[in-house]
Symmetry: C2
Subunit: 242 residues, 2 copies
């Protein structure tokens, strides 16, 4: 994991610049944002925001993994987003958090005071534009996830999850593709709308059938990406690596 030192970190050497909310900013605009930003690190399991809390900031994920989730009174919970580096947290124009945000790993966020951020967005079209793009992309991804939750089998859900991870985290190794899963089995079950037992069983089944190779519980190798694509049940289009 990339180590961020909050005291020396500056926008000019920021690892997430190309994809983040500030990607289109001019030097001047960056200075504006720079004045109102501050870094903060959370340890695994720590809560960043709880649903219903007043939201005084927005933020970008700099490093680590966080989850966005919602839970019901009786304890059932559903993850509604997985936040990886460059993803954006919070929403201008809303004062109360609608979801829980939790650090899954060591997590560093680049915060902006919300009020100040809102002032910046209304005066710098570049941020506003990028915000629309980010939110629309997220909406697309979320809708795709609805298909998974509503209609896919457990096996297809696991395969789809692996694909999502591969797209953002995988590294090519000749024919095959390697990655380290960003979530525990438990968090995976929350994401996929399954139980941890079902996740475990289906991972075992995919391994038995040669779709994936496991090394420990987190390191996964995909020998044949097309095979995984088939298992995910997606249409072949729109399901390629970036």
């Amino acid at each position: 994991m990339i180590k961020i030192d909050s005291t020396t970190q500056t926008c000019s050497n920021c690892p997430i610049r190309p994809r983040a909310i500030c990607s289109r900013c001019t030097g001047e605009e960056l200075d504006e944002l720079g004045k109102i930003k501050y870094y903060k690190t959370y340890s695994p399991g720590a809560s960043v925001v709880l649903m219903g809390d007043p939201m005084t900031f927005v933020a970008s994920v700099v490093s680590g993994v966080a989850t966005l989730s919602r839970s019901m009174a009786d304890g059932r919970m559903q993850m509604v987003g997985m936040l990886l580096p460059s993803d954006f947290i919070g929403r201008p124009g809303r004062d109360i958090a609608s979801f829980d945000v939790t650090a899954v790993s060591e997590l560093t966020l680049c915060h902006f005071h919300k009020r100040a951020f809102e002032k910046v967005t209304s005066s710098t079209p570049h941020v506003q534009e990028r915000l629309v793009e980010i939110v629309l992309d997220e909406l697309d991804a979320t809708r795709e996830w609805m298909l998974l939750l509503g209609r896919k089998t457990a096996r297809e859900k696991i395969a789809s999850f692996l694909l999502i991870c591969a797209r953002r985290l995988g590294t090519q190794e000749g024919e095959s593709l390697q990655m380290s899963l960003p979530l525990t089995r438990d968090a995976m079950s929350d994401y996929l709308g399954l139980t941890i037992e079902t996740v475990s069983r289906q991972m075992a089944a995919l391994k038995r059938d040669g779709v994936l190779v496991l090394e420990g519980t987190r390191k996964v190798t995909i020998p044949d990406l097309n095979r995984l694509l088939d298992e995910a049940g997606d249409d072949s289009d729109g399901a390629t690596l970036p």
Copy 2:
């Protein structure tokens, strides 16, 4: 249903102004938009856009109901959005449709040529701002829907659906609340990630238990809204009428 005559319809008497993409516009900005808009009507079942199609326009729903859905190669499908009057279709900055859009009832849309619309948004912050709001609201709603798809029981799903409808379509009648369901049983099943048979059975069960009263298949009366809230399994907060 409100009848729209495309030849005489003007922005100044538009029924969806208060909530639509143009709600914040000044008279001048409206003129800009007015120049590039055109109305179009679709009959029930008609396809507005198919996934993969080039998208040359964006649009607002003026009257009627449309659905946003995604389907799998083997025919399974999941509705990912229900579009009611004032809702927005399409996204600036994306040329290919990611989902199917289908008219469920007689449907009238207010179209804008996408290229032209993009020019307008980049020059009029009011449209851009409203667009961010609309998209963020939709993202919230979509995420809430994920909880439903991933974790709720069939009965809770139906109750939640009725609540959503009540919020946007219901009319108070003393203690109770009346509405006409915007979707067929079939479309409801697509929305809720269920089969039509399960929808039918659960509607029957809720009726048997006095949670709702049916008149025909579409007209529903909710005698006690709190009862329905309980059945939906939501936390009591965030689940009130607007």
